[in-house]
């Protein structure tokens, strides 16, 4: 089974701070990590490899320092890694990013499953995985919380929906985006860490993957970001307390009158 996992290096904080003037993320001083959902994707790939054999390749598009994130995945047990890094890739939205990743996957050529995390914790779009599937013309299942069965030609998975889940049978090759609840990612081993640092990880640019310059990076991004801002923190609200519900109603109506709402 040939499995490709797409990962992203993200700042290690769920409270992303935003530069109020420039409207961009403040990355200085914030340590980088592998996007947590992507670690679930790597874990899912490694479990399938353990059961069915094959190879796991991790790929990431990002600046040169994203190499660290790839090495961490190799330390977890991935066999191969490829970094997509090129100045031309800078400023990509989810469309251009998924195009770039799809071109790299085409270059790798052999694949049965493409795993992604359900979304990245910095942008939270959840669009890159589905974008890759569309670019490659593959079936896709998002929000996968459990893999029930994998055969050479298809998978049966559970897809999380509000208040329950769907059971979906999907032919392979396919793109699968996973939920956090699908597994508990393993910690890298020390032996794996040593191997990961000795490994030569290739860096592919736009020319290496036959990507059109017009379709990558800022040039290939139809999304125009008008403004990025942190919404102001709202106050904690007020809790009305009284003997019973009727008493609370009276207090509430008084408040609403004071505010001239009723």
């Amino acid at each position: 089974m040939e499995i490709i996992v797409c990962i992203k290096q993200v700042p290690d904080t769920t409270e992303v701070k935003i530069d109020p003037v420039k409207g961009t993320l403040i990355r200085e001083g914030v340590p980088s990590i592998v996007n947590p959902f992507d670690k679930n994707a790597v874990e899912a790939a490694l479990q399938i490899k353990a059961a069915k054999g094959g190879k796991v390749t991790v790929i990431s598009m990002g600046p040169p320092q994203a190499m660290d994130a790839l090495r961490e995945c190799v330390a977890m047990g991935a066999d191969e890694a490829v970094l997509l890094s090129d100045r031309a890739f800078a400023g990509a939205d989810t469309w251009a990013t998924s195009y770039t990743l799809a071109k790299a996957i085409e270059k790798i050529g052999k694949y049965d499953i493409i795993f992604c995390g359900k979304q990245a914790i910095d942008g939270d779009t959840a669009q890159v995985g589905p974008g890759i599937a569309e670019h490659l013309g593959l079936p896709q299942v998002t929000y996968v919380q459990k893999i029930r069965e994998v055969t050479d030609t298809g998978m049966i998975v559970e897809r999380a929906i509000e208040g329950g889940y769907e059971v979906i049978s999907v032919p392979l090759p396919a793109m699968i985006a996973v939920e956090k609840s699908i597994n508990e990612p393993r910690f890298p081993t020390m032996m794996g860490t040593m191997k990961a640092h000795k490994k030569q990880i290739p860096i592919w640019g736009a020319a290496d993957i036959n990507a059109s310059e017009d379709l990558v990076g800022m040039n290939g991004s139809p999304t125009q970001v008008k403004r990025v801002f942190a919404p102001e923190r709202r106050g904690g609200g007020e809790i009305l307390q009284a003997e019973d519900e009727a008493g609370v109603c009276v207090l509430l109506v008084e408040k609403l009158r004071e505010a001239k709402i009723v």
Binding site: R71, E72, M190, M191, T193
Partner: protein, 379 residues
């Protein structure tokens, strides 16, 4: 000079820190309260290969080096010093002597399972009447045909209750003084080898510490470690490495004291503002941070010297001495910053103090460290 950890060391630090935060820290207080050995945590540490960090690949390790190992001990101890001492004693003084002085066959047989985390190793040096004066060992080993016969007792031995093997020092020729001491590899299931009930300790309660009783313990002749009469020399070398790990453990506790205090000082409001806004508290926090960083530098330097094949006895003693003393100071200040809450079990700092005190005693008391340093100065 280059004060930057390399990429590999940084990654090991990151992985072990994440492991310690997720898997170790949440259960540390409970393990301490119950005096329960961290079986589950150490099993996972074994799977991750943490016990193999200081040993080369051919003996089941990853060959990451002593500095990488010291970093890992620090991170584990920052979450749970009981797990830290279990880790440090197993690698440095349990497995260490076999790796350093064993024959190829002995290393294959014992270092591999220890490095892979399939077996714990203990170091039996201290005796009821031979503590700082380890030359005063009374346990004896007598050659009887093809077997050594050991008799005597050892005390305060870490990991022996959970261990599969122990390195035991014993007198083989009393007329030769310290040159008449030899070390032996003794499987803990050998008939005549028994251990006492776990000690009731002030701190490090989740670690396994017991007495060993040796009654006509017969082991094959080839289980001697190195040559006859070299035991004393060997354990001095093993303890040099052990001191780096106790230093790293101390740095971990010192850092934990700072972490807890800083967090508390920012949250605790008195006189209308967080107490971290008061200089009285700021000065304490600044001193704690400074001491932790200084201790870390010295411990890292000793580990770096060891990794680079340079003499490190003096630096290891300095690192152990300074780090152990400042971790006790930091623990006391941490309790002071927490006030009444610091004295309660609801906060971790009282545990840090109980755990910290052993650092000034184990693997050579502070007084012995000063003697080691003075000797290196030519006194």
């Amino acid at each position: 000079m280059n004060f930057q950890l390399d990429d590999q060391q940084l990654m090991i630090q990151k992985i072990v820190r994440e492991f310690a935060e997720k898997e170790v820290a949440p259960v540390a207080a409970e393990l301490d309260e119950k005096g329960q050995f961290p079986h589950e945590i150490t099993r996972k540490m074994g799977e991750m290969g943490l016990f193999g960090l200081p040993f080369p690949e051919e003996y089941g390790g990853s060959g990451a080096g002593y500095l990488a190992y010291a970093i890992a001990v620090e991170e584990i101890s920052r979450a749970c010093a009981s797990t830290g001492i279990t880790y440090a004693a197993h690698c440095s003084i349990g497995t260490g002597p076999i790796y350093l002085f064993g024959t190829e066959e002995q290393k294959k047989k014992w270092v591999i399972p220890c490095a892979e985390g399939r077996m714990f190793a203990a170091f039996g040096l201290t005796e009821p009447n031979a503590g700082s004066d380890a030359g005063g060992t009374q346990t004896t080993a007598v050659l009887d045909g093809d077997e050594w016969v050991l008799n005597g007792s050892k005390c305060f031995i870490t990991n022996v209750g959970v261990g599969g093997v122990a390195v035991i020092t014993a007198v083989t020729d009393r007329s030769k003084g310290t040159r008449g001491i030899s070390a032996f590899i003794v499987p803990t299931d050998t008939p005549g080898f028994s251990v006492g009930q776990p000690y009731h300790k002030l701190g490090l309660k989740a670690s396994d510490t017991r007495e060993i009783i040796l009654e006509n313990v017969r082991i094959p002749k080839e289980n001697i470690l190195g040559k006859e009469g070299e035991g004393f020399k060997q354990f001095l070398v093993a303890l040099d490495g052990g001191r780096i790990s106790i230093g790293a453990l101390s740095v971990g506790i010192a850092q934990a004291c700072l972490d807890a205090s800083l967090k508390y000082a920012k949250e605790r409001v008195q006189f209308g503002q967080p107490i971290s806004k008061f200089q009285a508290i700021q000065f304490k926090l600044a001193d704690m941070a400074m001491k932790t960083e200084l201790a870390r530098l010295m411990v890292y330097k000793a580990a770096w010297l060891k990794d680079n094949g340079k003499p490190f006895s003096k630096e290891a003693a300095m690192g152990k001495l300074y780090a152990s003393e400042i971790c006790v100071q930091n623990a006391l200040e941490a309790i002071q910053i927490h006030g009444g809450y610091g004295y309660m079990k609801e906060y971790p700092v009282e545990r840090y103090l109980r755990d910290a005190k052993l650092m000034e005693i184990g693997e050579g008391t502070s007084e012995i460290q000063r003697l080691v340093i003075a000797r290196q100065l030519g006194c």
